[in-house]
Structures are given as C-alpha cells and as structure tokens.
C-alpha cells in the first residue's frame, strides 16, 4: 500500500513539474486550441444561488444557439463562487490560471464581481458582468464590463418613483449592510430622495441587516415607530421576502420598494401573499421586446423551458455571452487583450435585454423597467428612459 502511494506521489510530482514547464513557455507560440473557453463564475450554492442559476440559464441557452465562433467550438466553464467573496476571487483565478479562459462572465452580486476585479485586471482577461450594478465593479478597471445599468441610475429611478408616483414625503431604508450592491443602491436612493423632497431629514430611518439573517423584528419595529410613507429595502431576495413578510405580521402597511435582485421565483415563493404589491426596478420584461434578438431569445427560452417566464438576469446572462462572441468576431481573435479592446468599443449592440452601448467605464447605458408583484407574478408597470 505504501509503495503504491509513493509511486503515485512521485508520478504526481513529475506531472506537476512538467505542467510547470509547459506553462512557463512563452505564451506567444501556443498550440492553437481546439476550443475557445469562456469562464463563468456565479453563486450556484448559498444565499444567492437562485440568482446565479438564472444567469447561467441564459448563458447556456446562448451557448446552445451560438456554439461556435471564429470556426471553433465555444466551451462554457462554469464554477461556483458559493455566494462568498473570497471564493469568488479564487474562482476567477482558477478560471484564468487552470482553465485558461479567453473571457469571463459573472457574477450575480456586485460584491463577488468586485472581489474578482483585481485578478482579471492583473491577468488581463476581460470580464463581463451580467447584472452586477454597483459602480465599483468597473470603476478603475479596464478589464471589467457589464451589460446592465448601474446603481446611481437604479437608485434614482426608485427615489423618483417613491416621490412622484407614491407621493412619499418620508422614507425608511432597510439595507443589507454586508452587500455592496444594497448599500450602494440605498445611498443613491437617499441622495435623490433628499433632493426631490428638499428635506434633509426625509429619510427617517436607516436600518441594517446582514446576509443570512432571519429575524428582522427589531429593525421593523423601529421603522414602524417612525411611520414612513415608503420603505426602500434593497437586498438579497430571500432576506427581502422575509422582511416584507415579517413587516406585514407586525402590522406595517407601508409599501415596500426595492431593486432588481428581487426578481426571482424564490422571492415570490418565500414571500407568498405578503409580497403582493412590492415594486422594484429591473432590466427587462418579456412583454416589451426591445430588439430582434429579444424575440429570438424569448422564442428559444420558451422552447427550452416551457411554461416559464424568463427573468431579466437570464436575458442579461444571454447578452453577456453573445456580446463576448461579437467582440471576438470584431477582434478576429480569442486573445484576451484583443477581446478587451473590442469590448470597450461596443456601440449599439442588439442584446436581448435592449441595445448595449458601453460608456468609458465599461457600463451599459440602458433604460430601466419598473415591475410589481400582482397575483403571485411579476408584472410590468413602466419603463424609465436612460436619458
């Protein structure tokens, strides 16, 4: 037994050495790979798993429809970042170092994308986020792009909705304080709401909670005592659903508004009847086709998942994939640095969730859609123009 083990170990050692030599060769003369790899890092387990799965669904659908580029097969390498920032960074490193991907897609959850930001920048492999909306994802990072709008826009849209449509004069915020996305959204909402009302004290209460919390009774009791007209609660879908549910049990009748992360099946299932009437901003609605690609995406999605409505993030996952493929075509190369240059020059690209033009930061300039929960389903309410 010991002998077998020692032989095995020495074989492995030799293998590692050989592998080490291979990778230390100058990279200018690699043997042409048979396939082009696109890495995906998404939360597939843990608190954000439902969001990650929706995005991957879109990428896989796009991969099925467009399986080839530059005459080569495209392979998706999907890794799980376990809804954890440290895991997200190592997942991205793994994709670049071990799988040698040409580009990366991900991740649901701005925090995970930010965590991976330095790695893609250092290793010079472009990454395209599907639905990560925090400004810091792309700020100061030439290698990070995204196919969605960013939080300053989303926060502003919701503040205007609260002020104009709900006539709210006093707002309370309940934010997921450990989530960069939620904190960003809350601060942009606050800035715009204060500007609209002209009252620096119009946000009467700001409560925090942490990812994975179950009990929000203390925060909600405080919010209730301040008697706001609207409650803005950006955060993860399960926690948000539990918050709204517990609020109703505590006798809070104030309307809840939030951000794009709410748009998952789990939000409806966990929230049940209590989330009825909740309003949030998001990227896309199947009832409003924005480009010819939208129609194609919707048709194919219905074939692949009969009886299911595609989520906005699924369309964005789809868009992230076809945008990278388009960049490869324009660059006529699978070299990461050349793909990056092509991505940066993206203009009026017809994505399924609307046309994509990337600004200097690598952020898409897009319209926002406002949806509500009605009869246990997400229902389209309004579109807010980007400009």
């Amino acid at each position: 037994m010991k002998k077998v083990l020692s032989i095995l170990l020495s074989v492995m050692l030799v293998a590692i050495m050989v592998a080490g030599c291979a990778s230390s060769k100058p990279s200018s003369t690699p043997a042409a790979p048979e396939t082009i790899k696109i890495g995906v890092f998404e939360p597939l387990t843990g608190a954000n798993a439902a969001g990650g799965e929706l995005e991957v669904e879109g990428m896989k659908l796009a991969n099925k429809l467009y399986p080839e580029v530059l005459g080569k097969k495209v392979e998706l390498v999907v890794v799980d970042n376990k809804s954890d920032k440290a895991e997200a960074a190592s997942a991205a490193a793994r994709l670049i170092e071990k799988d040698k991907v040409s580009a990366i897609i991900g991740s649901w959850g701005s925090g995970y994308s930010i965590a991976a930001g330095n790695i893609v920048k250092e290793k010079k492999v472009p990454a395209v986020g599907a639905s990560c909306t925090n400004p810091l994802v792309t700020q100061g990072n030439d290698y990070y792009f995204r196919v969605c709008f960013i939080d300053p826009f989303q926060g502003t849209v919701m503040a205007r909705y609260a002020f104009n449509k709900l006539g709210a004069k006093k707002a309370a915020i309940i934010q997921e304080v450990s989530n960069d996305y939620a904190v960003g959204l809350a601060s942009f909402f606050k800035a715009e709401f204060v500007k609209l009302t002209g009252d620096p004290n119009s946000v009467v209460e700001t409560s925090n909670y942490q990812t994975g919390d179950n009990d929000f009774s203390a925060q909600l009791t405080n919010v209730k005592s301040k008697n706001p007209d609207v409650i803005f609660a950006p955060g993860n879908f399960t926690e948000s659903a539990l918050i709204i549910k517990q609020a109703k049990k505590l006798g809070i009748k104030t309307p809840f508004i939030g951000g794009d992360t709410w748009e998952t099946d789990e939000f409806l299932k966990v929230g049940g009847a209590e989330v009825e009437g909740a309003v949030f901003s998001t990227f896309f609605d199947p009832s409003v086709t924005m480009t010819p690609e939208s129609t194609k995406f919707l048709d194919e999605y219905k074939k692949a998942y009969p009886g299911k409505e595609p989520a906005a993030v699924t369309a964005l996952g789809y868009d992230a994939y076809i945008l990278i493929l388009d960049a490869m075509k324009r660059a006529n190369s699978s070299d990461p640095v050349k793909i990056r240059e092509a991505l940066a020059a993206t203009k009026d690209f017809p994505g399924a969730a609307g046309p994509i033009t990337l600004d200097v930061n690598g952020d898409a300039v897009k319209d926002a859609v406002i949806k509500t929960v009605k009869g246990g389903k997400f229902t389209y309410m309004d579109t807010v123009k980007a400009k």
């Binding site: 387990t45 843990g46 909670y209 942490q210 009990d215 203390a218 049990k249 006798g251 789990e266 966990v270």
Partner: protein, 296 residues
Amino acid sequence: MSSTTLQHLANGVSLGSLYALVAIGYTMVYGILRMINFAHGDIFMMAAYFAFFGIATFRVPWPFAFIGVILATALLGMLVERSAYRPLRDAPKNSILISAIGVSFLLENLANYLFSGKPKAFPEITFFANTVVIGGVSIQVITFFIPAVTMIILAILLYIINRTKLGMAMRAVSKDYETAMVMGIDINKVIAATFAIGSGLAAMGAIMWGIKYPQVQPMMGVMPGLKCFIAAVIGGIGNIKGAVIGGFILGLGEILLVAKLSSLTGYRDAFAFILLILILIFRPTGILGEKTTEKV
C-alpha cells in the same frame, strides 16, 4: 412602556425561546457524553427539510407531519450516533469532536446535493401565522407557542431525568460510564435515547423556526447551531435549565442590540461570540454551571 419597547420585548422573548429549545438538545448530549455535537445545527436543518417535504410535497396535515418529522429526526440522530460516534467511544474526545464536524459537513453537502442550494419556502400554517394585536403590539400566534412549548419540554425533561429509570441511567452514564456499564446499564441504549431526545428537540425547534422564518436552505442550521451552542455555554453547558436561561439572554440581547444601537446591527452575530468569550473568561462554568449543580 411604549408599545415599541413592548414589541421589542415580545420579539426578544420569541427569539430567545427558540434558541432555548435548540440549546436544550446541545446541552443534553454534552451532559451525558461530555461531547459537543456540532452536527446538532445540521440535524435541525434536516428536520426543517423533512417538515417542508411532509407538508408541501406530500400534503400530510400539519399535526401528523410534525409528529412524523420529530420521529424521523430522532431516528436520524440515532443513526448519526450509531455510525459516527459509537465507533469512537473509546477514542480521545477530540476524535469524536472532529467526527461531529465531519457529520455536520456531510449533512450540509448532502442537503445541497439532494435538495439544491436554492432556498425553499416553508409552508405557511394559517393557525400559527395569524397575528393578534394587543395594546398596539402585533404578535404572531406562534410567538405564544414557542415559549410555552419550551417550558413544557423543560418540565418533561426534568421529570424524565430526575424521576424515571432512564433518567437515572442517563445520570449514571454522565458521571462515569464505565462504572455504569459494570452496574449493568446498557449504555448504548442510554446514549441512543439521549440522541433521539436531543434530535427530537432539534426537530421541534426547526418546525417553530420554519413557521416563524419561513425559508429552508442547506446552510440554515449553521448560525442557529452556533448561537444555541453559545446559549448552552452561557447557561452552563450540561445544565438544561441553564440552556433555557442562556437562550433567553442571547435572544433578548440580540434584539435589544439591533433595536437600541442600530449602528451596531452589523455586529449582531459578533455580539453572541463576544458574549461567549466574556463568559469563558469570567465564568467558564456558565451561569448555572456550579460544581454543586447536578449535571444531566
């Protein structure tokens, strides 16, 4: 007292009694075996899944489903004891501890694999989920049940331990299991019974937890597990009454921290651990863990 303060107290009592219920299970196993069953939180999680499948998937009426869940979880606890702890009974204590951590990871990943990482909605039971308003304080019906159930169980357990033959055997095993064995006590049976009761308590805790916080996911047992362990240590690990007191201190403390010092909300979980460190420094035996106090 304003209605807001009363509401905070009601919230704290309800969270505290949930912690207490699960902490009793921790402390019982420790009292008998001098071993911390780190898989307790994950047994709690499995029980929540059992309840979810029983009610949502197989549509068993809830009173029967709850009894089924408690029995199934007790069986699971015995199975874990039989396969992961009994073979290590004569091994050093650390080996059992490591084995318990292994069981914990096994159950978490098994649940992840079998039931997917996506959270599921715990079925709503109208009877418990309704709210009543008393003097401006909204209270869910389940909030009344949790402390009542905890107190009833505390009384039953104290009876079993102090007045029955099984309890006498448990106390004997906890004092010195080798001597107990020599005296003709079937220690395997006693320990299996301890695990069955402890796991059954975890199941009751999981059911109440599910009704109050209606979502089920594979990692849901981790934080409650740790917090209830802390509650057990605060009260004096091995002491059942102590576990209940520890649970209430932790639950009320957490709610009051979030309510009164809202800038510290992010440190809610840290609060529990800081409390643990303070207790271990200043009173390692816990509040009721005096040497003279009878261990389980």
